[in-house]
Amino acid sequence: MTQHIYWLSNQTPFTLYFENSQSSADATSALPGVDVMTGGADGNYCNVPDCSAQPYFYANHMNAYAVDADNNVIFSFSFWANDANNETLQYSYDGVYFNVQNLPTYNGDVTAGFGIVITYDSDAAVAAIAAYAGQTPESKSALPFAFGEQDFYPNISSAVWEQQIMAAEAGGQATAAFFTEQNQLYQFVQYVNGAGQAAWISSTDADGNPCMIAILEGGTQEDTISMVVTGDAVPGMFDTSQAAAVETPPTDPRIQAIIAAAYQNRPSPNRHRYSRLTGDQGAGGFTWAGGNYNTVASITTTLVYNDTPAWYLTVPLGLASTVGTYVLRGVIWSALLGPILRGLVVGLEYLFQGLVGLLPAGSAAQVLAAITARACLATTQNGALAGVTFSITGGLAVAGVVVLIALPIILGLVMHESSQTLRFYNLTLYDIQWTLANIVYGVLSSGPASSVGSPFVLSVIPAGQYITMGQTQTLVYREADFSWASNSQIHGIQYILALTITDPANNGALVANAAIAFNIPWSGENSLAATFSPPSDITDLYNSTQQGLSEAATQALANGQTLTLTVTYDYLDGEHPLPSGQPAYTYNSLVVLSTA
């Protein structure tokens, strides 16, 4: 068997020359950005030379090399078929048999014919080569995208949330109002599940960029919850000098207001319907399923309460580095973004359905992992942009969404005498490691899972971090969500979390030790405690709990700042409505670590 090469796609800014050490008649060349057929002497295809080791290399390989305007050879790839290894396509650099690697292949089986796509990252001065199955250059159009990984800690915007969390630290009604708003997610999930595809509106923002929206209208306009999925290209990917087709923005003022809210407090947008992509290498990248991806855009899911952006999750969208971002040159931004957003929405639909259908079985963490995996698989899809098709593999693009929307639903399914929702906000640049130091009554019914498929609960709430949104960096804090339930008819919930606070910017140096305690008795008022001086016998902290709606502890830091640890309840006793409306002995608590 012999491998047959049919075409060559030059996705570089250089002239590309193609040669066969076995047959000089096969030689051809391609100008920058041009595809050529490699028909050889008889106009059909070229046989790829067989080579299984260094002694055979020089007389048995093909060569593709790039030449700039000054006639400098910028790079060259040698490739061949390894006849001692099932005709596997292999390659090396610079005309030598060294550091030999298998050629990345896309679009299926290459044995029926393939082409070569060569790309170049001018910022990093790195070239890449890949084989695409198919006998015409159109075969290369299955561009492999992937969503970046997102752990189970939702991102929260520092600009949007910090003040609201600080206000809710007062406890009592302030905490209750905070949770009431968030628990509306229960109704939102029910609505999307009932409406299915009809729940999602394909729309555009004021500039005509694609976005997907689901809106649950309450009794009044002030009782609306929406989810908006949008995207931003990374810096360097846009060519605003090139006009593209104009799309009509939505005329419905309600949708306009919701979309505007989704963009509120976000940095200068790097999106514009008129723009085409430059194809230049953007900053950063990520690894997914063993492959490296160059980040080309960020996809953001925003939850909007009334007209306030309450929470968002941003994940990177990458193109396989073996393809190179140059291939996106000239692509219209909206043509790329639209199909990607529709794919992500399909994943969200599976996620919502999974939440309701799967939660009663298994541990909460296992269920979360299972439905996230399902949603990620659903996200895998094919899209199209101007005659070019592409595929997206999952990543954990929706993991954070799972945690956020699961909590009120888990609460709704709790059949125990009493329960507690605990949202832990880390409003610092420090890592927080938590351990369940002691538990007298109750069980931890859900917590942040470590990854898809893993039932293990994460133990470190990450420090705040700056992420790229559009053109700029924005500070994002991390949220860890837990739910606790009583496990008997005659006891409540009583436990202590020990906290170790460390500085990741200082090699993980210890910043402080702390502990928090909650006691929700079967009878009587709730109590709580927070301290930066945990007793040597941690159970002694129960003796320090206070019957109150809020407690705070402070610790002076060496850098002059003060660390504050606050714990709250919404109520001290009695029955209160679950997110479903059913009355229960359910309580909501905040834990907030902040610096000032």
Binding site: Y58, N63, V73, S76, S78, D94, G95
Partner: protein
Amino acid sequence: MTQHIYWFSNQTPYTVYFDNSQSAPDATSAQPFQAVMTGGANGDYCNVPDCSGQQYFYQYHMTLFGVDVENDNTVVFAVMFWANDYQSEVLQYSLNGAYFNVKDVTLGGTINDGDPFGMVLSYDSDSGPDITAVPGAAPPQGAGAG
């Protein structure tokens, strides 16, 4: 006649490998800033392949290529050279595995056809690799022969 190469001196910070597309036993390598003899199979010298055009290139050239062993064995550069049998065996070279932008090798002295010589290989991060043919059957003092 045929040009005979007796040694090469690696004046680069990379490990340099020496290959002959005509004779696999000629292969050898030199650590950074070291020189080695290129005696080939019989220990005396290697015949430099003749090449007078692109169609002969792949099977008729020698290669000196630098490898960054501390960076995933990345091939940093490759210099291909040969003797042009249509031009009085003048030594010529090109870069990065292609017969393109072919240049004559700089001579560090008179090298008549068949005279013993060696190649001194240097590297500049801005301008790339460079080779000079130096007459003699052994590396001169200071050429890293050691």
